[in-house]
């Protein structure tokens, strides 16, 4: 058997089995009501984030002066805020921003964290020591404190929020990945690959990575929900994205001063944060359950 043939076989086999596995995974996920709810909520919010700009009846910062402070009605489903902006549109349009910021930040953190975690776990030694001690020192600070500190130094903008998510979550992902690598790297199939003389990159990506993936996917979902919370918190504290952005946290902050007068301006964005975070957490729970069951088979 030549190397060329083997790789063709593998790629063919992977394509079909991946699809099959994904379907199986989805079926198992939806077999439990809680994880089905979580997955539905998450999908719904992602859908809203994508379609928001097309279905929002008004612009995020469109001020309808004559309609300020209106309670929910058929024209303004979630009412209007103190400046006459449509709360429904702002919540819809805010979904895109918060999911994109949190999603992109999480993605970057997961990629960097996975790479560093794989290398640190597999190579060990001084490389491992240095990276992990640096990460430990970052983890010693509460996430929000670290975020505030970073925003103080890099200034406030969407990009800085992205950097904050990246810096805050990379160490956590790296730690989780490293712990899986440590458990796997002494096992027979890894030893065998090393003896055959496979390259380090091949061993890491083809031999070890598949074992890391289940944990990593759950961890990513969790980080994603935390990141949403972080973006909203920074908005609420007024240090993240700047007004008039329809950031849900910022909306809650702005609406706080007149909460008793126009409660709808605070309830809907607050509910959006809560629901999406709960949804993603339920999904992560379900993913964990399904992946563990698959692993045990």
């Amino acid at each position: 058997m030549t190397t060329g043939q083997r790789s063709t076989d593998l790629s063919l086999g992977t394509a079909t089995s991946w699809w099959r596995r994904l379907l199986l995974f989805a079926r198992r996920l939806f077999s439990s009501p809680t994880s089905a709810i979580g997955a539905t909520i998450t999908l719904l919010f992602i859908l809203v984030a994508i379609l928001g700009p097309f279905i929002a009846p008004y612009g995020a910062n469109e001020i309808i002066a004559s309609d300020a402070r209106q309670p929910p009605s058929s024209t303004h489903w979630f009412g209007t805020d103190n400046l006459g902006r449509d709360v429904f549109s702002r919540v819809l349009l805010g979904a895109g921003e918060i999911l994109l910021l949190a999603g992109l930040g999480t993605l970057l953190a997961v990629i960097a964290g996975t790479l560093l975690g794989l290398l640190a776990g597999y190579r060990g030694g001084i490389f491992d020591e240095v990276i992990m001690r640096v990460f430990d020192s970052l983890l010693a600070l509460p996430a929000l404190l670290l975020a505030l500190l970073l925003l103080g130094t890099v200034g406030r903008s969407q990009n800085s929020v992205l950097i904050v998510i990246f810096v805050v979550y990379t160490p956590i992902v790296a730690r989780v990945v490293r712990s899986v690598v440590l458990a796997v790297k002494s096992q027979g199939f890894v030893e065998a690959a090393r003896l055959i003389g496979e390259s380090q990159a091949y061993i890491l990506l083809r031999e070890i990575m598949p074992s890391v993936l289940p944990t990593l996917s759950v961890e990513s979902a969790l980080r994603f929900s935390y990141a949403i919370f972080l973006v909203a918190s920074l908005g609420f504290l007024g240090v993240g994205v700047q007004p008039p952005s329809p950031n849900w946290g910022l909306m809650v902050k702005e609406a706080r001063t007149y909460a008793s007068q126009i409660p709808w301006a605070i309830i809907f964005p607050a509910a959006a944060i809560s629901i999406v975070v709960i949804g993603i957490n339920l999904l992560a729970d379900g993913m964990k359950r399904v992946l563990q069951a698959t692993g045990n088979e």
Binding site: E62, S225, P243, I266
Partner: protein, 521 residues
């Protein structure tokens, strides 16, 4: 694979999310729950402790105080020579009467003879001389040094008589003597501000920084009728919502400097009296005139044309105040205020055309800096929306006041929103904000015609001449000035109905607490 720690953390995050929703609902529920007012007891002399909620104070030396909380504390412990009434007239305090020479250069003040400092020493003219010499001393570098640079000499012409001699005549000098910083200290005080040794209606009882400052009635106050309270507690809150909730909950009795939104929530609340005071306070939207892009006055004109003042007034102020006319002379100065020059109507097309003429045919991008206090963030958001229609795209930066004013950053940025407090007469704004090289000339504007008119208005003893000069200044600023003044806002506050005789002044920190007393049942 999954540590307990992660599971716990995940559950916590669900809990936090649920909690957030609960809190949002709770805030709203609490906010609308009715309060019952406690019944005040039988009222006799010097009774009751007024609890005032306000931002923490930082500066204790009267020569350097600036915020309302700092001024209200100082105004309780120390005395001014004269006070300004809410009707903008001069009222006696430590100076019981005065004479002004015809040329407006010599002011002779007769002082009260029975005032003592809290340490027991008698108050005399020497204390006044020392205090004002300090305020104008360039080495002390108080913000008043320019205000008092016109003083040629200060002399004690009797044990209880002081004579101020001016270089140029100043019709507003009595108002200047009542500047926020001009509280009389004991002569030769080694570290001013540290010992709270004033002649004022209240004496210091305790001060715990960032928590509270407590004062008790000065039994030896020169006016035996005052104060009418046993004492005052200034309780520090960083958060305005918390201040209002404390008022509702009966933990404090007086809040001031409220936003319109918070103020509205208090209207109709049982046991609470809403307070509104018309003022000449305003927010200035200004563009640096000394460098591109603002050095082309057409840009400022375009900003003005793109602004819908009525919408801003309704949305941002919710009607508490007056619409501004792009100059600091507001309707409160009834004798000087003029509507002779009409403001241009909003015209987006004309704004675009002007922008194109100024070299920005495709619109312009600007950064708009604003402090995070009062209505300024809302103003910034509404302006962004209105200007966007004329292709003037601004990115809003909302900064804490300490950042906005820190390191004089506000004097550097091109486009900013700055709040200006109410003053008893308009000359102050011209001399500090708009004349060439003025100390707070944030727009870096310099126009010889304005300087000439401001000089006339500020020195002539002829009232008609002054009215004319102020009229011309208003016209000039509307036509080519560097500032946009969208509104003058009212000061809003609220007091518990347990207290009476509180009159909120346009500069709330100058409100007189020595008149306040417990309400009779």
């Amino acid at each position: 694979m999954f540590s307990n720690l992660e599971n716990a953390a995940k559950k916590r995050s669900v809990h936090v999310a649920v909690l957030l929703l609960a809190i949002a609902l709770l805030i709203q529920a609490c906010a609308s729950s009715p309060e019952t007012a406690p019944t005040p007891a039988e009222v006799t002399e010097r009774q009751g402790v007024l609890r005032v909620a306000m931002q923490p104070i930082v500066q204790l030396d009267p020569a350097f105080i600036s915020s309302d909380p700092e001024v209200i504390v100082a105004n309780s412990i120390y005395d001014y020579l004269v006070d300004v009434t809410p009707q903008n007239t001069i009222a006696p305090r430590l100076a019981r009467e005065w004479t002004v020479s015809e040329d407006g250069k010599t002011y002779v003040l007769t002082l009260v003879e029975n005032a003592t400092f809290h340490d027991g020493t008698l108050f005399t003219a020497d204390d006044v001389v020392w205090t004002f010499n300090r305020l104008r001393d360039p080495d002390v570098d108080s913000p008043t040094k320019n205000l008092y640079s016109n003083i040629e000499n200060i002399e004690a012409t009797g044990k209880f008589e002081v004579t101020f001699t001016l270089i140029e005549s100043n019709p507003f000098f009595l108002f200047d003597l009542s500047d926020n910083h001009a509280l009389v200290l004991k002569a030769d005080t080694p570290v001013p501000g540290s010992d709270f040794n004033g002649t004022g209606p209240f004496k210091i009882a305790s001060y715990s920084p960032e928590d509270r400052l407590v004062v008790k009635a000065n039994e030896d106050y020169f006016d035996p009728e005052r104060p009418k309270l046993e004492g005052v507690e200034f309780i520090f809150f960083n958060d305005q919502v918390a201040q209002v909730e404390a008022l509702r909950g009966g933990q404090v009795d007086l809040v001031m400097l409220l936003s319109a939104d918070l103020f509205n929530t208090l209207i109709g609340e049982q046991g609470i009296i809403p307070l509104e005071a018309a003022t000449n306070s305003f927010d200035v939207v200004r563009l640096r005139a000394d460098r591109p892009p603002g050095d082309d006055p057409r840009l400022m004109q375009a900003l003005r044309l793109a602004t819908d003042r009525q919408a801003i007034f309704d949305l941002v102020l919710q009607g508490y105040g007056a619409i501004g006319r792009d100059n600091p002379i507001g309707p409160m100065y009834s004798q000087y205020y003029s509507e002779d020059t009409s403001l241009p109507e909003r015209n987006v097309a004309a704004a675009r055309a002007l922008l194109a003429e100024a070299g920005f045919p495709d619109g312009i991008n600007l950064e708009l800096h604003t402090p995070d206090t009062a209505n300024r963030p809302n103003l910034a958001v509404v302006l962004k929306d209105q200007w966007a229609e004329a292709d003037i795209n601004v990115e809003v930066f909302v900064e804490p006041e300490s950042v906005y004013y820190g390191n004089n950053g506000w004097l550097v940025v091109d486009l900013g929103i700055t709040g200006w407090g109410s003053r008893p007469y308009p000359q102050f704004y011209l001399d500090t904000m708009l004349t060439c090289g003025a100390i707070w000339n944030e727009s870096h504007f310099c126009d010889s015609e304005l300087d000439r008119l401001a000089k006339i208005a500020g020195t002539t003893m002829n009232e008609e001449e002054r009215v004319e000069a102020y009229n011309q200044i208003q016209t000039m600023l509307i036509e080519r000035g560097p500032i946009l003044v969208p509104y003058f806002f009212s000061q809003l506050g609220a007091i518990s109905e347990k207290f009476t005789d509180f009159q909120m002044k346009p500069f709330p920190g100058r409100s007189d607490l020595s008149q306040v007393r417990l309400a009779a049942q």
